[in-house]
Symmetry: C2
Subunit: 344 residues, 2 copies
DNA sequence: TTGTACGCGTTATCAC
DNA sequence: GTGATAACGCGTACAA
């Protein structure tokens, strides 16, 4: 390693280290000429300050971290942009931290908090239940975004009411005349979004006087990535092959709904003429698919804005509403249609 | 801040700091009983070591960083998984670093290299030309992945030949009888993938004896995100409204191709009966869309595996082939069709 | 305006 | 097996 340090830069310039430091950090108390000179040699020798040493020394850092599990989820794309924009606008710096599938997000947060002297944390996509108790060890404010599950009232949360919205969708499908509505579900032991949306599905059936039929619920197999095209395809195919009668497929997510559509097409069926298909999330893609997917449109941008505003309010110790539940909108596409009396 | 440090843990345990350090880092020279005792108090007081201090002190770290611009690009999703798996399999640790749109990826790499004592770096999605010269300041091995543009022969690169593959696609379209092939392009000043694929388009036309017609090339407007559904839609719509005659749209990417399809549908046209549409990249989604999109399928997993293998070879100073160009596969979908003699 | 010296939390090298 | 102690590279109080 031929790392060049601040000391050597100082020696090279014939000044003290503090002068170099002042030049780097735009401190006022420095002669303009010396500053230019220092910056020049820095550029010349390509000196790059060591961030670890900086973080170690600094008391705080004006950094906000956004932790995401499953960073490639298109659902988060817009939201990340909002975070990026708002955080830099407020003169904070922004760290996007990917959390591996098997990692514990709160452990990662704990590490990051010390390492980067964070000012605040956003958990995008929620946190798993088993890890919630560790949250109390965090010393900086944090907001849990897009999932409302499990955590106590006092935990800052921004989300939609997944159960209610799911119920809304199924009630709509029922109002279209569908009675045999299949559900493409998460893994059976899912304790997060998957469970909530499934619960909404059951509630709507009950309210509509329809019987809950396990044969119409296709659970994601252990080890399969739940929110994938492939999984939607596989589950819909399995449903078709089961021979079970149905007129409508309600998928846990838009991506799965698209996968399901493809399975239907490949089986020579039409959507929505033969089967209706609905999704959840309101991805941009849902509107671009042919047929456009009927979905529950989560106000992602607003949720992202609310998340970051809530976090700033917590940081500034303003009084806040810690639990912000947003309304989602049912977005009718061409993938569903009312069942005519004859067809029933 | 009520951060608890290694010193306080030592005091709490009635041992020296080195003993605590040994306990944390699984050093051999430590009594099993004391180790257990130390770990117990660590858990009890929820001590979390400060990573900055560790990185500062440690000479090396067995960490490999993957830098990505546009982390939400679905094209990268699979590749990231491969990186994650292979890097941890080789007992390295893995840092996924998002680079903001306006940030310089090499600057970020330089910082990260010092901060984390990196062993190697992957630039996923290439680097911008203006920043190439700084590459020489990196002291650790790096591989540029998925874009072959600009950089010299000696720079480790894994990619497809974008120009050639683009040409392959257009030649195929010409062989289907298309003569008026519109191209949905990147911004006019693009110097990366966009430029290369455009060059391939021109080459194919030339080779096929067709005239290059600026009126059939729809350039992305300044400030619009190029690789988006919305942009594909807008450009296709602009093309339709221009009144220019064409039988086929070749889009810079699958996502844009899907946006273009929607624009055609919305205008009451059919794909491929009225117009053929082709894309580039071979996203999983291309196969799930209806109609499935004809595309150039980049071997993403293989490229990711080659990238990481190349990096490890460089780290271990093995002799390597620094420039690995992969073959892409033309994947015929239902979005294109041969033009019958009558229709021409 | 500039330079010196100390400390941030950790690990590694010694002695013991 | 264990405990002092010297680095690691930087920011900053304080002295000059």
């Amino acid at each position: 390693m031929d790392q060049i340090t601040i000391k050597e830069v100082a020696k090279l310039c014939g000044v003290g280290v503090s002068t170099v430091s002042r030049a780097i950090n735009n401190h006022p108390d420095i002669n303009d000429a010396t500053k230019r000179m220092v910056m020049e040699t820095i550029r010349k020798y390509n000196y790059v300050p060591n961030n670890s040493a900086r973080n170690l020394k600094r008391a705080d850092s004006n950094t906000i971290a956004v932790l995401i599990k499953g960073i490639t989820n298109p659902f988060f794309a817009d939201m990340i942009q909002v975070f990026e924009r708002e955080i830099t606008r407020q003169k904070y710096s922004f760290v996007l931290q990917h959390v591996e599938e098997f990692e514990d997000e709160v452990d990662t947060a704990l590490l990051l908090e010390k390492e980067k002297r964070l000012k605040g944390i956003v958990f995008l996509g929620g946190i798993s239940n088993r890890t919630e108790e560790k949250l109390s060890f965090l010393t900086v404010p944090y907001v849990i975004s897009t999932v409302e599950s499990g955590v106590g009232e006092e935990t800052a949360t921004v989300a939609v009411d997944n159960e209610k919205e799911s119920q809304k969708m199924v009630e709509y499908l029922i109002s279209c005349g569908h009675e045999k509505i299949a559900f493409l579900a998460a893994q059976k032991n899912d304790a997060s979004i998957g469970m909530l949306r499934h619960r909404g599905y059951r509630m709507a059936l009950k309210k509509g006087g329809l019987e809950y039929d396990e044969g119409l619920v296709m659970w994601t197999k252990e080890g399969c990535p739940t929110y994938s095209l492939e999984n939607g395809y596989a589950l819909a195919r399995e449903l078709l092959e089961s021979g079970k009668e149905f007129t409508c497929i309600y998928a846990l997510s838009d991506i799965m709904a698209i996968g399901a559509c493809k399975a239907l097409f490949d089986a020579g069926k039409r959507v929505p003429e033969d089967y209706s298909v609905a999704g959840f999330d309101g991805l941009e893609l849902a509107g671009y698919y042919e047929p456009s997917i009927t979905t529950i449109c989560q106000p992602r941008r607003e949720m992202a804005e609310a998340t970051i505003r809530l976090l700033f309010d917590l940081i500034e110790q303003k009084p806040v509403n810690t639990r912000q539940i947003f309304e989602a909108r049912l977005q009718q596409g061409n993938s569903t249609r009312p069942l005519s009396a004859a067809a029933r």
